[in-house]
């Protein structure tokens, strides 16, 4: 894979609703030296790996766990309410949040999906201190590309961290990261935090030409910042060693020691291909070792295991299901509910966008109508000055001119209340109320946000099923081995005095079974752990969602009341202009 892969992906970030990623994207783009370095260190790192599943690295002592995520949560809350919508449809609202909706600070600790749920509050209490992350200063850099002499270009961002958590080396520091590093962070989190709802990463995207455009760079910067805020706000991920390493490690990230130590062995597909014949011929063990068994098949490069699990997965479709626990059945039902919710959210999100765009259309028409009235007013006024002896004509034209101008002005002002139009109004006066369409889309942004999280939820739930599949596959292997051993033993009893070869085989099978036993139990533990995380995250998500939606419903009403009250005033004033003239005339 070429080094710039991460930055050259097709334009798709704006369609975040379809953020279900391709499986193939999950391979971290590695090349040449970097990869060698990592594979050699990976073995050592894999023990860290295990512990980090808890989100608490082994060397982290109790005092290290003091920092709290309050600050991070608060900033996430601001983000939610401030409505920096990093996604599609709301293109015009891509301005830095400037507190448009008044009292909209979401209470700390209850701000949407990133906020802690009651179940994790004990952990929250154990961690104190703040963590604030910002992404700034995008700079274009060059590096040697695939072809000799051709320089590849990429954007480098400054990731600045301010924290008083004691486990950080410094309190205020910045590192430079590129998009590829964010991809690596996400992929590592996915393999180390199975079962958690990992906030969705900004899409790789865009065509070559678009990447250099300032709007795109700003959009991506905001998306990356938002992503880091979401990670920081997560009660487990925000405290994880992986996240800390991403913020702290030396540049370049992918070859820094702090980072590579955390990175498990990344078996590539090609390595798996190389292993496969040996596995089939029996010269290499086809039995997954316990540490592999506790990992997602995708990350082990064990193709034989992948095939087995795939076969089992397919077979389970039409054959007898292994008995599922009630907890598992509940979670599978929960997944169906989440899928239903996803459908409704997607619809609501679309309708919300349509609503905002129809508000915008309506506002723009008022602007056009107002302009045509004002123009006619000017025209009538000009006529009034010219017609000489036709004084009645002139007098009438003056009246019409005044009325057209008054109503036209009101319509144009109404449009300014509704939309940015030529995006002039909002920027010129920083303290002015943003147009109603922008406020509305901000108020409705939880719909999009929640929809954006659903794929992560489904993925996390799927991870549990994958883990269970590993357990079932290993259990099935075990049964097969037991049968094989039994038949060998039975055969052996028929031959008096035994058969050396058979005894060796039985011995081999027993060794395999011992390994299998360990692997199965590791896989079972992993499954339980993932399920536990699923439960915990579902509770947290539900609470966060309720909070976000309640806020949304309040905000939308507030925004609309404010907007229409201003409109009412504006038109009342316009109408009273007529009254004044009528009084004068009468």
């Amino acid at each position: 894979m070429e080094p710039t892969k991460a930055d050259t992906d097709p334009l798709s970030s704006l369609a975040f609703a379809s953020s279900l990623e391709d499986e193939l994207e999950e391979e971290v783009p590695l090349q040449g030296e970097t990869q060698h370095a990592r594979t050699s260190q990976g073995q050592a790192a894999s023990s860290h790996q295990q512990d980090d599943y808890f989100g608490l690295p082994p060397h982290r002592s109790a005092q290290h766990e003091e920092p709290s995520r309050d600050h991070a949560v608060a900033s996430y809350g601001q983000l939610l309410s401030g409505g920096s919508t990093w996604n599609s449809g709301f293109g015009r609202s891509q301005v830095e949040p400037h507190e448009p909706m008044g009292s909209q600070h979401v209470p700390t600790g209850a701000a949407g999906p990133g906020s802690p749920a009651p179940s994790s509050s004990s952990r929250a209490a154990a961690t104190q201190g703040s963590l604030h992350v910002s992404v700034t200063d995008p700079v274009q850099r060059e590096e040697n590309g695939m072809l000799p002499g051709v320089m590849g270009k990429y954007m480098s961002y400054s990731v600045r961290t301010k924290t008083n958590r004691p486990n950080f080396r410094q309190q205020d520091f910045a590192v430079r990261r590129r998009f590829r590093d964010f991809v690596a962070l996400h992929d590592l989190l996915k393999s180390t935090h199975r079962g958690f709802f990992i906030p969705p990463r900004p899409e790789k995207n865009t065509m070559e030409g678009q990447r250099a455009q300032p709007e795109f760079i700003e959009l991506r910067r905001m998306a990356l910042q938002r992503y880091l805020h979401q990670l920081a706000a997560h009660p487990v991920i925000g405290l994880s060693e992986v996240f800390r390493a991403f913020l702290e490690a030396d540049e370049p990230l992918l070859s820094s020691l702090q980072w590579t130590q955390l990175t498990p062995v990344q078996h590539t597909f090609m390595e798996g291909m190389a292993r496969l014949p040996r596995q089939l011929l029996g010269s290499e063990s086809a039995i997954p070792n316990p540490s592999d068994a506790a990992r997602s098949t995708r990350h082990t490069g064990d193709l034989l295991r992948r095939f087995k699990e795939l076969r089992l997965d397919v077979r389970q479709e039409y054959q007898e299901q292994p008995a599922l626990t009630q907890a598992e059945i509940d979670l599978r039902n929960e997944r169906m509910l989440v899928e239903e919710l996803q459908e409704k959210l997607a619809n609501a999100s679309r309708k919300a966008e349509k609503l905002v765009s129809s508000m915008e259309d309506l506002g723009n028409v008022f602007g056009d109508l107002g302009l045509s009235l004002i123009q006619t007013g000017l025209y009538e006024a000009a006529t009034a000055d010219q017609v000489g002896q036709y004084s009645d004509t002139g007098a009438a034209a003056k009246i019409i001119a005044a009325d057209c101008k008054r109503v036209g002005q009101a319509a144009v002002n109404g449009r300014r209340l509704a939309t940015t139009g030529a995006q002039a109004a909002a920027k010129a006066v920083p303290n002015a109320t943003p147009p109603a369409t922008i406020q509305t889309s901000m108020a409705l942004s939880p719909l999009h946000d929640q929809l954006g999280i659903v794929p992560a939820v489904l993925k996390a739930l799927k991870e549990r099923e994958v883990a269970l599949l590993t357990v079932h596959s290993l259990q099935r292997d075990m049964v097969m081995k037991q049968r094989a051993r039994q038949s060998l033993v039975d055969d052996g009893q028929k031959v008096f005095g035994g058969d050396k070869g058979k005894e060796r085989k039985v011995q081999g099978l027993q060794n395999d079974m011992a390994t299998l036993e360990q692997s199965t139990s590791a896989a079972e533990q992993e499954y339980d752990k993932v399920m536990d995380r699923n439960h915990q995250e579902l509770v947290r998500w539900k609470a966060g969602r309720a909070e976000a939606f309640t806020t949304m419903l309040d905000n939308i009403a507030k925004v609309e009341v404010g907007y229409h009250e201003r409109m009412h005033k504006l038109w009342e004033i316009a109408a009273s202009g007529f009254d004044d003239r009528r009084k004068q005339a009468g």
Binding site: K344, S358, V365, D368, Y390, T393, A410, R545, T550, W571
Partner: protein, 442 residues
Amino acid sequence: MNSNPFLSETESSGFPNSQGQASSSGQHEEPPPPYESVVMSTAGIPNAGRSAPQEDAHPSSFDIQVRDPIKHGESTISAYVSYKVCTKTSLHQYRQRQTEVLRRFKDFAWLRDQLQEQNRGIVIPPLPEKSVVQKYQMTNEFIAQRQRALTIFLNRVAAHPALQHSQHLQNFLEMDENSWSIEMARGTQEAARRKPGAFQFLRDFGQSTANMINGKTLDEEEDPDYLKVRDSIVQLETHMAEIHRQAARLVKRQLEHGVSLEEFAGSMAALGKCEKQPPLSMQFERLAEWAGKLAKLSQEQADALSLSFEEPLKEAVRNVRSAKSVTADRSNALAMLQQAKLDLDAKRTRHSKLRGSAGIREDRIAENEREVKEAQARQEAAKVAYETICRRMNEELSRFQQQRAQETSQLLYLFAKSQAQLANDNARMWAQLLPTANGAAQ
């Protein structure tokens, strides 16, 4: 105009927002009159304000309603719609106080042609457009719109000081269907007889030909102030058409906004069913319920706008167009006068030539003299026609402008009022969803 049934319902159903109620009752003190009354009230008092005194003696003595459109004929080509024209009048020349006749669009058009023919220089109230496409579709909406426009047309004619005593109008309003069709046939024949070939030619090609040949000289003979008024009217049409176009877009957008609100309401209701926790699902339900009402409000506003803003604006455009055609008539008349003068000069030159040259037969000279006399008569007639138009227009333009100012003013005033009302209704309805209101409702 804004007779939203559910609005009064919300008021009477005692919602906790007393403030909103108070302000709304303030709003309802002055219900905006319907579109017909907007246009017709001013048409009914044609010279409100400063106006020529002799016309004050003729307030409108008519109340005319066009109603009950009935479709006739099966095939699309021959199908037509008849309307019942009901008239109440106090004019003595009418045999009855109240009449009721059946007329179709064609009859209206004929009436207007006759009025125009006999009242050059007067801005004849406009008829709704003949729309070939829409005619064949004959949607109820189209018919209703046309019915309203025809009502306005008749009332405007009946209110016009120069037109209300027209025999054609009386015939149109009084005659039973048979007599009317005979009258129409007779009138058409007469008109055909009245128009000699040359004039027909000029009429048909009208101003454009005349202006092309000697446009400059034409304008040079006109009063420069009049020319300014004329030019202003010509350009005014473009301006008014633009306003109307935007108004039509506004109606469409308002309607679409209603639709998207409705869909939004639906999606919120569905989401509420997914979010089963009791307070949240109830809040979603409330939002869906009110968004649905807002959608209805938006759609009703679109209808109201269409009736009280867009259609009158269209009427205003047509009115300006009528005025424009009067200025064209005047130019035509002037062109004909000039043409007649040239013709007369040519004939006279030829006549003197004939006289001067020897050996010309007497009968040819006599013939020539006759031609000169005819040309002179035509020139006289053309002069009278032109001067009549000028004289009429001097009054008519001022009447036209005053009426236009009053109507435009009223239209814009009602528009501003209805926008204020709509915004207020919206604000009040959204206020029902505010957390405080929510708490009170629960």
